[in-house]
Amino acid sequence: MISILTGFLFATGLYLLLHKSFMKLIAGVILFGNACNMFLLIAGGLTRNHPAFVSKSADAVAVDSMADPVPQAFILTAIVIGLGVQAFVIVLLKRIYQTSRTNNLDELTSTDRV
C-alpha cells in the first residue's frame, strides 16, 4: 500500500517538476522530496507497532521486534535538508518573480542565449 503511494508521489512530483508554472515547481520539489523519504522508509523495511526505542528497564531486547532505527535517522536528516532546500526554492522563485515579472519557466532563458 505504502509502496503504491510512494510510486504515486514520485509520478506526481516528477510531473509537477516538469511543469512551467512556479507554484507547480514548488509543489513538485516538495512531493519529490517526500517520495524519496518514503522510499527510504520502505527500503529500510517497515514494521508496524514496534518503535525503535529501547525501554530503560528492559535488560535484553528482542531485536526482531524492533523497527530498524537507521532508516528513520536517515529520513530525519533528509527531512531537515529537504526543509532547507524547499524554503530556499520558495524564496528564490519569489525573487525571480519580483525581478522578471513572469510565472512561466520557459521565459527564463536570458542566460542561455549565445
Binding site: 517538476l17 515547481l25 520539489v29 519529490f32 522530496g33 524519496c36 523519504n37 522510499f39 527510504l40 520502505i42 527500503a43 529500510g44 523495511g45 537507521v70 532508516p71 536517515f74 536528516t77 533528509a78 535538508i81 532547507g84 532546500v85 530556499f88 526554492v89 528564490l92 522563485l93 525573487r95 525571480i96 525581478t99 522578471s100 519557466l105 527564463l108 532563458t109 536570458s110 542566460t111 542561455d112 549565445v114
Partner: protein, 490 residues
C-alpha cells in the same frame, strides 16, 4: 593526534565571522599539507566519529587521493579569499550579506565529501555544499543570477534525490551505508541486478553533479552569472567533487572490471562529453561561457581516465584533475580581471589588451597553453598519461576524440586571444588605464592569480614528485581491499 588534525580541518571552517576566511583557509592549507605528508608515510588515516566502531558509526577516511584533493581545496580557498578582497569583485553589500559564511560552509562541505567514508554522510556533505553554493550563486539577486540559479537548484535537487534513492536501495539490500562494508557485501554475485540498479542511480546522480554528457546543460547557464570570485571557486571545485565521488564509487563499490556494461557506458559518455563541451565553447561569445564549456569537455577527460581503469589511467585522471582545478580557477580570475578592465565579457567588445596589459596577456597565454596541454606545462603530463593508458588498452577512437578535442580547445582559446588581446584598439578617445597603475589598484586580484600560476608552473616543471604521488594514489584506489581492511580493522 591524527584525528585531532582531521577535526581541526573541519571545525575552523564553521566560524561565522567575516575575515576569518583567509586565516581559516591558510590554517586548513597547513593542516592539509601536513596530512599529505603523513599519508605519504602511513598510506591511510581512519577516524571513527562518536566512538562507534566501523560499520555502525560514521567513518572519516583519508587516503592519498583524498589528501591531495583536500590540500588543493584549501589552496584554492586561500587564493579565492585573497581575490575576493579586491574592491568591486563583490560589492560590500554582498560581503555583508554572507559571502564568507556561505563560502566557508561550501568549503567545509567539499572537504567533508572528500573525507567521508559513509554513503549517507556523503549525501549530507553534498547538501551542505550544494545549499551554500545555491546561496553563493544567487547572492545579490540579479536577474540573470536568479534565472541561472533556479535551473541549478532544481537539477541538483533531483540529483541528490537520486543519490538518496541509491542509498535506500543499498541499505535495503545490505543493511549498511559504510563504504567499506558495502564494498564487501556487494561482491556477492547474487546481488548483481540490484547492484547495477544502484550503480546506475549513483552514476546519474554524480554525473549530474560533475556535468557529464546528458546532464551538462545546467552548467553553462548558471556558472557565468555570479560574481567572478564565486564562479572561480565553484567552477574549480564543485564538478571535481562529482568526479572524485565517481572515482570513489566505481573503484570501491562497483569495481569496473566486474561491471563491463557500466564501464562501456562511462567511456561513451566521457567521449561525448569531451566533444560536446568543446563544440559549445567554440560557439560562445562570452569569455565566461567559453570557459564553462571548456570545463565540461575537460570533465570528459577525467572520466575517460576512470573508464579506462588501469593504474596509469587513474593516475592521469587524478593528475589532470589537480592541474585542471588550478588552471580553471585561475583562468576565471583572469577573465574577471579582463571583465573589470573592459567592462564586458563579450569577446567582440574587448579589444587590444595586449598593448596595454602585458602582464595580464602573459598570464592568459600561459594558462591557455597549460589548459590545452602544450608540452612543458602541467596539462601535458596529465594528458600524456591518459593517452598512454588509452593506447595500452587499444581504445583508439576515444583517444583520437581526445586529441581532436585538445586541438579544438586550443582553437577556442586562441579565438579569445586573437580577438581580445591582439586586435587593434580602435577607439583612441577611450584610453585604457596603464597596467602599472591598474595593478597597484587591484593588487589582490593579480596576487591571487600570480600565486596560482606559480604553483601551476611548479607542477609543470617538476612533475616527478606529484606524478609519483598520484601514481601511488591510483594504485591505492584500485586496491579496495586496503580500504576495507583499514576501515574495518581486519
Amino acid at each position: 593526534m591524527l584525528s585531532g588534525m582531521l577535526c581541526l580541518l573541519f571545525n575552523k571552517y564553521v566560524k561565522v565571522q567575516r575575515f576569518i576566511a583567509v586565516a581559516g583557509s591558510l590554517l586548513a592549507f597547513v593542516f592539509a599539507v601536513m596530512l599529505v605528508s603523513v599519508i605519504d608515510r602511513l598510506d591511510t588515516v581512519v577516524m571513527q566519529l562518536g566512538g562507534w566502531e566501523a560499520p555502525f558509526g560514521i567513518t572519516l577516511f583519508v587516503d592519498r587521493l583524498a589528501a591531495l584533493l583536500l590540500c588543493i581545496t584549501a589552496l584554492l580557498a586561500l587564493a579565492v579569499s585573497v581575490f575576493s578582497f579586491a574592491e568591486d569583485v563583490l560589492s560590500s553589500r554582498k560581503k555583508r550579506i554572507g559571502f564568507y559564511p556561505a563560502f566557508l560552509f561550501m568549503l567545509a562541505g567539499i572537504s567533508g565529501a572528500f573525507l567521508t567514508g559513509d554513503l549517507f554522510n556523503l549525501y549530507v556533505w553534498f547538501e551542505v555544499m550544494l545549499i551554500s553554493s545555491f546561496v553563493l550563486i544567487t547572492l545579490g539577486s540579479k536577474k540573470d543570477q536568479l534565472q541561472g540559479g533556479i535551473k541549478y537548484v532544481v537539477i541538483n535537487f533531483v540529483a541528490s534525490s537520486f543519490l538518496l534513492l541509491a542509498i535506500g536501495i543499498l541499505y535495503g539490500t545490505t543493511g549498511n551505508t559504510n563504504l567499506a562494508a558495502l564494498s564487501e557485501s556487494l561482491r556477492d554475485p547474487s546481488l548483481k541486478a540490484i547492484t547495477q540498479l544502484a550503480a546506475v542511480l549513483l552514476l546519474v546522480s554524480f554525473g549530474i553533479k560533475s556535468a557529464l554528457f546528458p546532464f551538462y546543460f545546467w552548467l553553462p547557464s548558471s556558472y557565468h552569472t555570479p560574481p567572478i570570485a564565486i564562479t572561480a571557486i565553484i567552477a574549480g571545485l564543485l564538478t571535481k567533487v562529482g568526479v572524485y565521488t565517481l572515482i570513489r564509487t566505481f573503484t570501491l563499490l562497483f569495481p569496473l572490471q566486474q561491471h563491463h556494461l557500466i564501464q562501456q557506458l562511462i567511456l561513451v559518455l566521457s567521449c561525448i562529453t569531451m566533444i560536446i563541451g568543446v563544440l559549445g565553447a567554440i560557439n560562445q561569445q562570452d569569455i565566461r561561457k567559453i570557459l564553462a564549456f571548456n570545463l565540461i569537455s575537460k570533465i570528459g577527460f577525467m572520466v575517460f581516465g576512470l573508464a579506462v581503469y588501469t593504474p596509469i589511467a587513474i593516475c592521469g585522471a587524478i593528475f589532470y584533475m589537480l592541474h585542471h582545478i588550478l588552471v580553471k580557477t585561475n583562468l576565471f580570475f583572469v577573465a574577471g580581471i579582463i571583465g573589470k578592465i573592459a567592462g564586458s565579457y563579450e569577446v567582440k567588445k574587448i579589444k587590444g589588451l595586449y598593448d596595454h596589459f602585458s602582464l595580464l596577456s602573459f598570464l592568459f597565454m600561459i594558462l591557455s597553453l597549460t589548459l590545452v596541454g602544450i608540452p612543458p606545462f602541467s596539462g601535458f603530463w596529465g594528458k600524456f598519461m591518459l593517452v598512454d593508458a588509452g593506447l595500452k588498452v587499444k581504445e583508439y577512437l576515444p583517444i583520437s576524440i581526445m586529441l581532436v578535442t585538445s586541438l579544438l580547445t586550443l582553437y577556442s582559446m586562441m579565438l579569445i586571444w586573437k580577438k581580445c588581446f591582439l586586435s587593434e584598439y580602435a577607439k583612441e578617445k577611450q584610453q585604457l588605464p596603464l597596467e602599472r597603475v591598474y595593478v597597484k589598484k587591484h593588487y589582490h586580484m593579480y596576487l591571487a592569480s600570480v600565486f596560482l600560476l606559480l604553483i601551476t608552473l611548479w607542477i609543470s616543471f617538476s612533475p616527478t614528485w606529484l606524478i609519483d604521488y598520484t601514481r601511488k594514489a591510483a594504485e591505492q584506489v584500485l586496491q579496495p581491499a586496503n580500504y576495507i581492511n583499514a576501515v574495518l580493522k581486519k
